[in-house]
Each structure stands twice: as structure tokens, then as C-alpha cells.
């Protein structure tokens, strides 16, 4: 066994056509192709997907937990940004 860890990849799966890719988890792999295979073998064994994205975890730019207040709290009291003031037309189910 090697004592060097392979890089971490994040895995995104599209469960069916028309839906967007969703984060499924992460895997270790030595290169991109291996990451794609490992994602397929780890996360789509039970027919979960029709498309896979993998991306090196180190390539993801993430928001800083220390800045949560500045980042997200200003949106909390802006209720006018929610589309709750519209009347729903009859017969529309998925809105």
C-alpha cells in the first residue's frame, strides 16, 4: 500500500435527463479518468445516474464560513424577492 494519498475529487451525478447534476460525494483517484471510473463504480451502482461530473476538490472555490453573516443574512429579510405575491394560474402544477 502506498503511503501517499491520491487527490480528492468531488462527484456530481445527473439522475435523469432534464435534471441538474447534484453533489453525490467524493472519491480519491490518481487522475481524471480514474476519478470518472471510481465515481461510476461508487455512486451509480444502483442505477442512480445518466451523467457524471468529477472535479478536483482543490479546484473548488468555496465561501468562507467566517463570512456567513455578511454573505447570507442580508437575504433573510427581503421577502419581496420571493415570488409569493403572484396568483398561481389554475392547472399549473410544477412551479
Amino acid at each position: 500500500m502506498s503511503d501517499k494519498e491520491w487527490p480528492l475529487y468531488e462527484v456530481f451525478i445527473r439522475s435523469k435527463s432534464g435534471l441538474s447534476h447534484r453533489h453525490a460525494g467524493s472519491i480519491h483517484a490518481a487522475d481524471d479518468q480514474m476519478a470518472l471510473d471510481a465515481a461510476r463504480d461508487t455512486y451509480t451502482r444502483r442505477n442512480e445516474g445518466v451523467s457524471i461530473w468529477v472535479v478536483r476538490s482543490s479546484q473548488i472555490v468555496a465561501s468562507d464560513p467566517a463570512e456567513t453573516a455578511a454573505f447570507f443574512e442580508p437575504a433573510e429579510d427581503k421577502i419581496y424577492r420571493h415570488p409569493t405575491f403572484y396568483d398561481m394560474p389554475d392547472g399549473v402544477e410544477n412551479l
Binding site: 502506498s2 491520491w6 480519491h28 490518481a30 480514474m34 471510473d37 471510481a38 461510476r40 461508487t42 451502482r45
Partner: protein, 252 residues
């Protein structure tokens, strides 16, 4: 030999190949150094066991004597197994396993592709399903062979040894016997000479990509397709069949 008997022998042989290789891969479950490859190996092993079940079930139907998949797998002796010698060889190290899989799957994929277009619809259906599985295995395993061959000095040296050691078992895949010939003529099965030419071209390209040398053509081992095996199969079967032999009919 009439064509019905040849088809039965052929289908049963396909089952033996899948079962023996699948069992060898199962021996490696929980032995892989990386979780991701561990899962891949277990998935692939189960693909083979699934294929063996389909082939044996169909063989039982063709035979018409009430034998089921388990009877083929667990209640036959070593000399009744007609798998390729390559597949019963011990796992060795990771490079040995990968090399064995690439050498076999390159042949098997072409064999399945041809059988999927054969005139026996049931065999064609099983082959078409298995073909998709093996296409992915081969993609995965070929990448590994290239990674190891074109990797470090040590991985290159060790996987070159694997190729040299296993090469002698590749000739048997393309030796057509009476069963192969009848299935080719009567059911539109594969022509092994054509398969050999394709295989040689494909393996050449893979080895070049992996910076590995193709071994000199030399003596080729054979006999597995006629039930004459290397010493390794008996031990493997003894372990595999232990439970059914000790407790006949046991289920859980």
C-alpha cells in the same frame, strides 16, 4: 457431434469462463489497497458471476435434464470445467490481475459481440447484455495497464513480467475445436481466426500505449477447453464448492 450438443457445450464453456474468472476476482474482495478499486473489482466480479448464472441456466435448458445453475457451478469436478487456462491462474499481484483481465477481455468482448449477432436468439440476448458490462471493464482495466506500464520504473518492470508470464495462455483462446467450428457454422458464432487477427492488432496498440514490449511468440499452453487444467483450478474449485459438497442442498 450434432449442433444441439455443440451449442450446449459452447454455452456451458462460456459459463465456466465467467465463473472461474469471477471466483478468482472474488478472492480479492477486501484485499485492495484503495476503496474505489475495491468496489470496482467487486462490481466486476459480480458481473461475471451474473453472466455465469445466465449461461448455466441456459445450458440447463438446452440439456433438458433438469440441471440448474448451481448444479453446473458446484456439483461438477475439475475435469468437467472447460474454462480457459488463463482464467484459473492465481491472482498474483495487482499488475498480474490487470494483465490477465485485459488479455482475456479483449478477446471476450469480440466473442460476445459476434455472439450477440448469432442466430440463437437466447444466446444472442445474453451476449448483448454481457457485452455492455465487459466493454466497461475493458476500458477500466486497459487504463490501468497503461498507467502501470507507463508509470514508474518498478511498475513498468513488474507489469512487463506479468505480460511475459501470462502470454503463453493466450493462444488457447483462438484454438478452434469441433465445438467452436460447429457453433460458427450452424449458429453464426465467431470465427476464431478473425478474432485472433483483431486481438493481435488491438493488444499491439494497447501495449505500445503502455510502453510495454509484446512477448515473442513461443510455446502456448492449452487444454482447458478440453478439461485438462493446470494445478491451480482444483484448489480453487475445492474452496468454491466446499459448502455445497459438505452440506448438499444448503440454502440461506
Amino acid at each position: 457431434m450434432n449442433k444441439e450438443r455443440a451449442l450446449l457445450a459452447y454455452v456451458s464453456r462460456l459459463g465456466d469462463n465467467a465463473l472461474v474468472l469471477g471466483q478468482r476476482m472474488i478472492e480479492l474482495v477486501a484485499a485492495y489497497p484503495e476503496l474505489e478499486e475495491e468496489l470496482a473489482n467487486a462490481n466486476f466480479a459480480l458481473d461475471y458471476i451474473g453472466q455465469a448464472r445466465m449461461f448455466y441456466t441456459y445450458a440447463g435448458e438446452l440439456e433438458g435434464q433438469g440441471r440448474r445453475e448451481d448444479d453446473f457451478a458446484f456439483l461438477r469436478d475439475e475435469n468437467e470445467f472447460r474454462n480457459l487456462l488463463l482464467l484459473e491462474q492465481p491472482n498474483g499481484h495487482f499488475g498480474d490481475s490487470i494483465t490477465k483481465l485485459v488479455l482475456f477481455e479483449l478477446f471476450y468482448l469480440a466473442q460476445l459481440g459476434s455472439l450477440a449477432r448469432s442466430e440463437d436468439t437466447q444466446l444472442a440476448g445474453i451476449a448483448a447484455r454481457a457485452e455492455k458490462e465487459i466493454r466497461y471493464h475493458l476500458r477500466h482495466n486497459t487504463q490501468w495497464l497503461v498507467r502501470l506500464g507507463d508509470g514508474t520504473d518498478e511498475s513498468h518492470r513488474r507489469v512487463q513480467d506479468s505480460v511475459n508470464d501470462l502470454w503463453r495462455y493466450t493462444g488457447e483462446m483462438f484454438e478452434a475445436d469441433e465445438i467452436d467450428t460447429i457453433v460458427e457454422k450452424a449458429y453464426g458464432g465467431p470465427n476464431l481466426e478473425e478474432l485472433r487477427e483483431r486481438w493481435l492488432a488491438d493488444i499491439d496498440a494497447i501495449l505500445i500505449n503502455a510502453t510495454l514490449d509484446k512477448p515473442e511468440d513461443g510455446w502456448m499452453a492449452s487444454g482447458g477447453k478440453a478439461g485438462r487444467h493446470t494445478e491451480h483450478l482444483g484448489y480453487m474449485i475445492a474452496e468454491m464448492q466446499y459448502l455445497q459438497r459438505t452440506h448438499p442442498g444448503a440454502t440461506w
